[in-house]
Symmetry: C2
């Protein structure tokens, strides 16, 4: 199946988008331990935090300690957010292991569709963001860039200005496109952003279809969405379905789905797509994520331990869909014991990782042990249903047409 989907670049944002809205007093050693564990999961792109003023983001005050203590894993790209020159300079001190040039490398025009949000978030206006466009274009021409990007943040709407229609998003992109055309540089990239959790899968699809129809040469995509209204994973799915193997797609999320910022109006309720849920969804679409789900779930449990509360994701609670051993699926969790007792609480449900001791002592209501000919087949390595064969269709008990 994977040959029908775009190439996905997934970035884990927990240490940045997640931690920036959490208690500033979380021990830096806990964050380092979490970052080290994330490096072992197979995730290939990890944001370590942000180099910003500690005055209003005290959560990031000890970035230097984090950078000097954590253990970078080879093959993982570590990045950090920097909002100004000072931040970039600080980040450069730690490169490597930090990668400073983030993103595609293509010069890109962007702004926030919500002028109010950008003023609240970065003390700049949308107009100041736009003022930068001619400079971006001049530098692109100077450096001989062959491809460029268009896009807008807060693409779908704003908690302060309301809904932005797909027509409005497209109108903005058309004006950006005209600027690149004027400069003689081909546009091959489009971005969608969503700091306030307005993303809707239907809009994601419509945007992709309309951009593709208008500018078929756009094949590089990114979608940074938040989960305030529970639409982030669904929007990932919509983007994966709407794009094809000729495209690449950058997606962001956080383990457990935590995250947000104090400026957007929803704080910790903002969240992001839980990384483990997106990875699990993609794996069962035949998209090879390279991620060890088992280790990824451990990092969610670790984050929850650090934060002292349950996060939003699901796969860390119920575990991955277990493998029956003959399905060729890359999942460590095996199908459950059919004679497991009642499983009721979240603690008992941890049996998928901790084994039967997690549900020990649970109610066992059956007079005789559960047994099934289907399970017998599985134990012999036979498929549970034979699509073109005899089982169970030719068994005596399987109802057959009379004629």
């Amino acid at each position: 199946m994977s040959n029908r989907y775009p190439k996905v670049t997934y970035t884990e944002q927990g240490l940045r988008e997640g931690m920036q809205i959490e208690d500033a007093n979380i021990a830096i050693d806990d964050k380092i331990e979490l970052l080290n564990a994330l490096g072992e999961t197979g995730l290939k792109n990890i944001v370590v935090g942000s180099f910003v003023s500690p005055r209003y983001t005290p959560q990031m005050a000890r970035m230097d300690e984090l950078m000097s203590k954590f253990k970078p894993i080879e093959g993982v790209t570590y990045t950090a957010l920097a909002l100004n020159e000072r931040g970039v300079e600080r980040a450069k001190e730690y490169s490597p292991p930090l990668t400073i040039e983030r993103g595609s490398g293509r010069p890109s025009l962007s702004c926030h569709m919500c002028d109010v949000f950008v003023r609240r978030n970065t003390n700049r206006s949308q107009m100041q963001e736009m003022e930068n466009w001619p400079k971006v274009i001049a530098r692109a021409i100077e450096s001989g860039a062959k491809e460029a990007g268009i896009g807008a943040n807060a693409s779908f709407g704003s908690n302060f200005l309301g809904d932005f229609s797909v027509d409005q998003y497209m109108a903005l992109l058309e004006h950006q496109h005209a600027l690149w055309e004027d400069a003689g540089i081909k546009v091959t990239q489009a971005s969608m952003g969503d700091p306030m959790g307005w993303v809707h899968p239907e809009k994601v699809e419509q945007i992709i279809y309309r951009v593709k129809e208008k500018w078929p040469e756009v094949t590089h995509w990114s979608l940074h969405s938040h989960n305030s209204r529970g639409m982030a994973v669904t929007s990932h799915y919509a983007a994966l379905r709407a794009l094809g193997p000729e495209d690449d797609l950058a997606l962001d999320g956080t383990i457990g789905g935590f995250g947000g910022c104090p400026y957007c109006g929803n704080g910790r309720a903002t969240g992001m797509a839980p990384t483990e849920d997106t990875m699990h969804m993609m794996e069962d679409m035949g998209i090879d994520t390279g991620v060890d789900l088992d280790k990824l779930i451990e990092t969610v449990w670790m984050a929850e331990e650090i934060l002292g509360r349950q996060l939003w994701g699901h796969v860390s609670r119920a575990g991955p869909r277990p493998s029956n051993g003959i399905d060729g699926r890359n999942v460590k969790t095996k199908v459950y014991d059919m004679n497991a007792p009642f499983v009721e609480t979240l603690e008992q449900t941890k049996h998928f990782k901790l084994g039967s001791k997690a549900y020990e002592g649970g109610v066992y209501p059956w007079r005789e042990p559960i047994a099934s000919p289907y399970k017998d087949r599985l134990d012999k390595g036979l498929p549970v249903f034979e699509v073109d064969g005899d089982w169970p269709w030719k068994e005596d008990w399987f109802p057959k047409p009379s004629n």
Copy 2:
């Protein structure tokens, strides 16, 4: 937009699927209060609980008290689950207000694809479920039925037997279809079920496309899915997108997304699609749900109060995407004050319903009050962007092509 989507019949399952996995000692008066509040939300189909033996489902022991005390709302269809004749007899005592004939009225062949789950859950085997098929068909012929249904529960896979492929699901349905064909009754209905949270949106789409291709006369659909791996809402979206206006679709979920059963292996981690998230998603697809989101969110908060913990849904935390007053959206929540201070905690985020007192005293980091020409436009009732007009494209500060 709504004319491209199927007609949706949504059933709220919180009092049944939700409460059956919760503490048996929850006060019946709390459940009655919750049921009464649900009746006021605009939800049209509500399951009140199940008439089952209290021995292994003590959560449903006081159904008689609930039935005699709750206040049915006119126009709402109330149903209850009954697994055997005794249960049906008990339910009949309360009809009205209970509606006993549940479902489409079309005779339907169904079984669980997972023989192990059905044995654990109802002490019957898949073979016993199938034994019933010839009787269903005989009764259908006798009553002169013109249309019939096919389908399978645990359509996508099982925690005890593993993955069921779309090919396997289709093979089972083909055999069912042959039985109806043999009886001369047209198949117009197909059902998907998912007691163990194996649903995947890609499989939902594939099933719909393949059934439609094979039997285009199938236009009545149902999808009962659980949320163990966070795919229930995404699967609702996939079904809505794959079906058309010629179809109808029955969907189930629970306020807050709680639910599960002790037999499935994931207990409370099973969950269902949070009703408020599905409703909110559908409203912004132009599907008129008839639901008052504000009241619906109140029932989620009420359920959380009763259960003593936060549930899974998102729209109850961040609130609906607020309306800017000129978008024609049916949402009570209005865009937020652009000079609201920091909003960080979930308690502060309740401002979307409780007003500014929820975030009173929060950090206000800006030297000057936030102001924006976009907000000025909104206050004058003007669109924030003029797709075919001048704003902001002709403003001095908007970058323009040089040629």
